[in-house]
């Protein structure tokens, strides 16, 4: 069945708090920690928005994003990129690869919720 948000993030306590705040904002949430498994999870859960960390084990978030944009069925899926490193260069890479939003860690919870809400609206249009 379709969910609202899929979170791909490998740090357990960040994943837990993201799961909590997005749930609390009223959305259904699925989580995944392995970069290689993200595309499969997207096909399975058909999320409306993906929250994607850059530093994932086995396959980087950028690589996953590139795969999403290259896939005929998934290419319009709204993606929010989270990153904790190399701010300026990462932002450029994310833009080039077609990320919809970009948030650097450490963030305020409200920033993430607002960004996801905006992407949800975009998804509906």
């Amino acid at each position: 069945m379709a969910v609202d948000v899929l979170i791909a993030e490998d740090e357990p306590s960040i994943l837990k708090s993201l799961d909590f705040i997005l749930h609390r904002a009223g959305w259904s949430v699925e989580t995944i920690t392995d970069g290689d498994a993200v595309i499969g999870a997207i096909r399975r859960h058909r999320p409306r928005v993906v929250v994607l960390d850059v530093m994932l084990p086995r396959r980087s978030g950028f690589d996953v994003l590139k795969q999403i944009r290259a896939d005929a069925l998934l290419k319009d899926l709204p993606v929010l990129i989270l990153t904790a490193k190399g701010q300026a260069q990462d932002r450029r890479t994310a833009e080039e690869l077609g990320a919809d939003r970009f948030i650097t860690k450490p963030y305020a919870n409200a920033e993430v919720v607002d960004a996801v809400r905006e992407l949800m609206q975009r998804a509906r249009v």
């Binding site: 740090e11 993201l18 904790a84 490193k85 450490p106 409200a110």
Partner: protein
């Protein structure tokens, strides 16, 4: 502006206590003409200026003001530095005329400032590209993200039940504990870095090898004893080594299709697991590698006391230096086992240091043989003195043993004309050249590049190039001198140590400007149409 030569002549003459008439007589001119010169009423130059300078015991430049001109130019450059923008600089001419010592000090300070700025840039580059630092930074940012996010939930969500609250608090506590550890290793890292800058461990090892002339008698003795033990198990080679390791130390040897990672996660072509007592070799490891590394393991297991004594006697300042030295001496010992000194020296002399022939005779690699050749320094039984260098295809020098007199760079890169680089273009075959340095010293360089065989198509290693260097006077004792005009220097390849340290202005292969102490380096890269470039806003 005409330099006041007359003033300088007069003041120098006064300082020496010579009369105008006396100086005029010695310089072969009339006293009244000298009087006009000293009052700057007559131009002076050419041979007369030379004679005056000689009589006054000074350089012509001092009288003509050329040395001053250089200083003025340097002061102008200093005053034009953007860091002084917005200030009202004094006139460089006046400063040099009135306070030459202060002007020189100003220039010296400016040079030191430029040097410091350059090294600050280097450090900034290093910080940006340091993988360990990047990893620690990532961990810190992740930790802060988790703590902040959890803390916000605790603060902003009023209706959390006890269990949920407890979970978030526990997460924060755990993250904080992890952050403390990360902070501690970050601090330790900076601490290590600061110490490493004071004493480079590689430098200490180099100094030790240099001081001992790359010959370690105790290791040679131990090597001979070990060789005898191994040969008791059969003819020297992989089989006998394997048998001795099994009998003496319960160590098994196996081959693996994949590279095995060591404790640090580094995928090695060979690897010893002390807990399981297994030595593994990756499928691509050659017979030469297996033989040498088994000898090295046998040496480390049987002669640890000898290695420990050598390392302890070397008075090394850090644990890293001790580790590097122990490792280097372990390899030395393996060399002594695989190539017993007296026999190897005899064979080397007999085949005139033909490295390829010695490889065949000892089942060894080019690098192993070349490495052993530079250790033939036993007092009273010396072989030919060789220098040794190893380079990767990026030109970086990764290993070196110096030859007295020959300026082998210890790191960075060498002269692009050296055959150590040319050898990459003919991988697998031995290349040679006779080189001449700017001071006239001549050497025979012999190099061979080789790619380590991989374990399969996808397992390809970058090639390395090995070079031996010997004085051209001894090149006739080697097979590599044959057919070369050793006595005729007209066809030598003109080389230098590296561009930065090379004085050859006429070199067509120069890649970088030379570093000249005190002088302004000549421009290597310039537009086709010559033009002057002013630094800063000149008026």
């Amino acid at each position: 502006m005409r330099a006041p030569i007359g003033l300088r002549v007069a003041s120098r003459r006064h300082a020496l206590g010579i009369s105008q008439a006396a100086l005029a007589r010695r310089a072969g001119i009339s006293a009244s003409y000298l009087n006009l010169i000293e009052r700057n009423k007559r131009h002076v130059g050419g041979s007369l200026l030379l004679r005056l300078a000689a009589e006054l015991g000074v350089e012509v430049g001092e009288l003509s003001g050329d040395s001053e001109h250089r200083l003025i130019a340097e002061v102008e450059e200093t005053l034009a530095d953007p860091v002084l923008a917005g200030t009202t600089p004094p006139s460089a001419h006046e400063l040099v005329a009135q306070q030459p010592a202060a002007a020189a000090a100003l220039v010296q300070l400016h040079r030191a400032y430029l040097g410091a700025t350059a090294s600050a840039d280097d450090y900034a580059d290093r910080l940006r590209s340091d993988p360990l630092l990047a990893q620690l930074l990532h961990q810190i940012l992740s930790g802060i993200t988790a703590v902040r996010s959890n803390a916000e939930i605790l603060e902003e969500v009023p209706d959390l039940d006890e269990a949920e609250r407890g979970r978030f608090v526990a997460d924060i506590t755990a993250e904080m504990r992890r952050l403390s550890d990360v902070a501690r290793s970050l601090i330790a890292q900076f601490d290590v870095d600061a110490r490493a800058r004071r004493f480079s461990p590689m430098r200490e090892l180099d100094d030790l090898i240099f001081e001992r002339n790359n010959y370690f008698a105790a290791l040679e003795d131990a090597g001979e004893a070990l060789r005898a033990e191994i040969e008791a198990a059969g003819p020297f080679g992989e089989a006998a080594l394997t048998a001795r390791l099994a009998d003496g130390f319960g160590v098994g040897v196996r081959r693996t299709p994949e590279r095995e990672a060591d404790a640090e996660g580094f995928p090695r072509p060979y690897h010893f697991d002390p807990a399981r007592r297994v030595m593994s070799f990756h499928a691509g490891a050659t017979l030469a590698t297996r033989q040498f590394q088994l000898a090295r393991l046998y040496g480390e297991l049987s002669a640890a006391d000898v290695l420990e004594r050598e390392v302890a006697g070397a008075q090394l300042s850090s644990a890293v230096s001790q580790r590097l030295t122990y490792r280097a001496l372990g390899s030395y010992l393996a060399g002594a086992v695989v190539f017993p000194y007296a026999r190897f020296l005899g064979d080397a002399e007999a085949c005139r240091y033909d490295v390829e022939a010695l490889r065949q005779a000892y089942g060894a690699s080019f690098e192993q043989v070349a490495h052993r050749l530079v250790t033939l320094r036993k007092p009273g039984a010396e072989g030919l003195p060789f220098g040794f260098l190893r380079s990767d295809p990026a030109g970086r020098l990764t290993k070196h043993f110096p030859l007295p007199g020959l300026p082998l760079p210890s790191a960075g890169h060498a002269c692009p004309r050296w055959v150590i680089y040319g050898a990459f273009g003919a991988t697998g075959s031995v290349q040679r050249q006779i080189v001449q340095f700017a001071d006239g010293s001549r050497y025979l360089f012999v190099a061979r590049a080789q790619a380590r065989p991989g374990g399969g198509f996808t397992d390809r290693a970058v090639p390395t190039s090995i070079m031996l260097a010997c004085d051209v006077l001894q090149a006739d004792r080697t097979v590599y001198g044959a057919g070369l005009e050793l006595g005729d220097s007209r066809h030598d390849v003109p080389v230098g140590p590296s561009c930065r340290l090379c004085l050859r202005r006429d070199c067509t292969d120069r890649q970088e400007e030379a570093y000249m102490a005190g002088g302004v380096p000549a421009a290597v890269r310039a537009p086709l149409v010559p033009r002057r470039f002013e630094s800063g806003a000149d008026d």
